[in-house]
């Protein structure tokens, strides 16, 4: 009984994580400029990765593997916002204006 509950829970978490990754991917393709694309891709880093890892942790149970997965989750939650920050500030330094109205990086020219 317990096993079925755990399996159903982990399935729900894994599927929800997959949906978030898909949304992030579509957003990264369809959004008009760099900053909005980064915003879409961050869905993959946070919700997508967290839900998938939690789902896999439920499958692994209370073992060393789930502790390692927890460490990976913590690592991702610290590093991916930092990477996004560095990417955004690099883009700002390179002269890409955050302009929501139009595709800023496409009108910038080569």
């Amino acid at each position: 009984m317990m096993e079925i509950v755990l399996n159903v829970l982990s399935w729900i978490l894994l599927s929800a994580g997959g949906v978030f990754v898909l949304i992030g991917g579509i957003g990264a393709l369809r959004m008009p400029n760099l900053y909005t694309r980064m915003h879409a891709a961050s869905v993959t880093d946070t919700m997508g990765a967290a839900l998938v890892l939690l789902g896999v942790m439920l499958q692994a149970g209370l073992t060393l593997a789930s502790i390692k997965l927890g460490a990976i989750l913590l690592f991702l939650l610290i590093t991916s916002p930092t990477a996004s920050y560095a990417l955004a500030s690099a883009a700002l330094l390179a002269g890409i204006k955050p302009d929501a109205g139009r595709a800023a990086d496409e009108t910038r020219g080569p």
Binding site: I78, T79, T82, Y85, A86, S89
Partner: protein, 326 residues
């Protein structure tokens, strides 16, 4: 299911490879090369080759990308067009592809237990490792002891490559006072968030590198992977704190010493085998108990590999960083 996943990954691999060849923007090509390495690392992993997957992820996707970016910072982002011998190269590539395709028909099927690679020496290694060396990770036993010559050769290749790159890149910039670049405004030094996170992560990456180094007997890992990880920690430190402070923490002399001492340690352990009355790179005579001698020898030569790889990778990184833009 695994086969399906493998086919999916290989398809992505081919798409990435075509994209790398197709793009004229070298920055894009470097990023795609990183993706290529990650994909092939996953592929190695589903083939149960965890050691190779770890190496590919650490070296291919991590350090090589950084070194390529360092090279790009010195040159330009656009590939120069050179289209003189297009037809000739097309003919060569097509015929080579056809020959390779023809050759694949003679190869054993995927996962065939009767394939020569599974029947030649692999069963002997699997059977004798517990008896002769007694460590759980057979890959480390093969790499460090049974095929110690090959790994010694690899270490010297890495060593020679490091020397070569340092000679090439420091050709114009020798002499005192070569670096006149102002220290401010470079890198992420004025950004608080990457600095804090970077400082937080460096000790953990170093610790993980040492774990991979000394846990190689029991799980995936060893000197090559650990060297790449430790070098990555110092490169991260250089990114957030600047190159000067990294060189102050681990000066170039120390890196040279690491490179040389690692290779010497490996060769010295090999010679110790001869001195103690056996053959080159036979660790059994290093201790009274042959199995304990093997353990000692493997730990020593893995330490040598790790030292050389760390020294070479960091020296190449610093050599790129010290060059002014052409």
């Amino acid at each position: 299911m695994t086969v399906l996943f493998g086919i999916f990954l290989l398809t992505l691999l081919v798409i990435t490879a075509v994209a790398i060849v197709h793009t004229r923007n070298l920055f894009v090509a470097v990023m795609l090369l990183g993706i290529f390495s990650l994909l092939i690392a996953i592929n190695f992993f589903i083939l149960d080759a965890a050691d190779v997957a770890l190496t590919e992820a650490a070296v291919g996707a991590g350090i090589s990308t950084v070194l390529f970016l360092g090279a790009l910072a010195l040159t330009t982002e656009r590939e120069r067009l050179g289209t003189q011998h297009r037809w000739l190269s097309l003919v060569v590539v097509t015929s080579a592809t056809l020959v390779l395709l023809y050759a694949t028909f003679d190869k054993p099927l995927f996962g065939d237990p009767d394939a020569p690679v599974h029947q030649h020496v692999a069963p002997w290694y699997l059977e004798k490792t517990p008896e002769y060396i007694d460590i759980p990770n057979v890959v480390t036993a093969v790499l460090a002891s049974f095929r110690g010559y090959d790994t010694l050769g690899e270490v010297f290749v890495v060593f020679t490559a490091g020397i070569g790159v340092m000679f090439l890149l420091s050709a114009h910039s020798g002499g005192p006072g070569r670096r006149k670049r102002e220290a401010s405004g470079i890198g992420l030094r004025e950004h608080l968030i990457p600095r804090v996170v970077g400082r937080l992560l460096v000790p953990f990456i170093l610790l993980f590198g040492l774990y991979v180094q000394f846990h190689g007997d029991f799980g995936p890992g060893g000197g090559f992977q650990a060297g790449a990880l430790i070098a990555a920690a110092f490169i991260l430190y250089a990114l957030v704190e600047g190159e000067d402070r990294t060189l102050a923490a681990l000066p170039q002399n120390a890196l040279n010493a690491l490179m040389v001492c690692g290779a010497l340690l490996y060769g010295g352990v090999g010679l110790a085998g001869i001195v103690l009355g056996s053959s080159f790179l036979d660790y059994s005579v290093l201790s009274a108990d042959p199995v304990a001698g093997q353990h000692l020898g493997i730990i020593l030569i893995e330490a040598g590999v790790g030292m050389t790889v760390t020294g070479v990778l960091l020296s190449i990184f610093h050599a790129f960083a010290a060059r002014d833009r052409i």
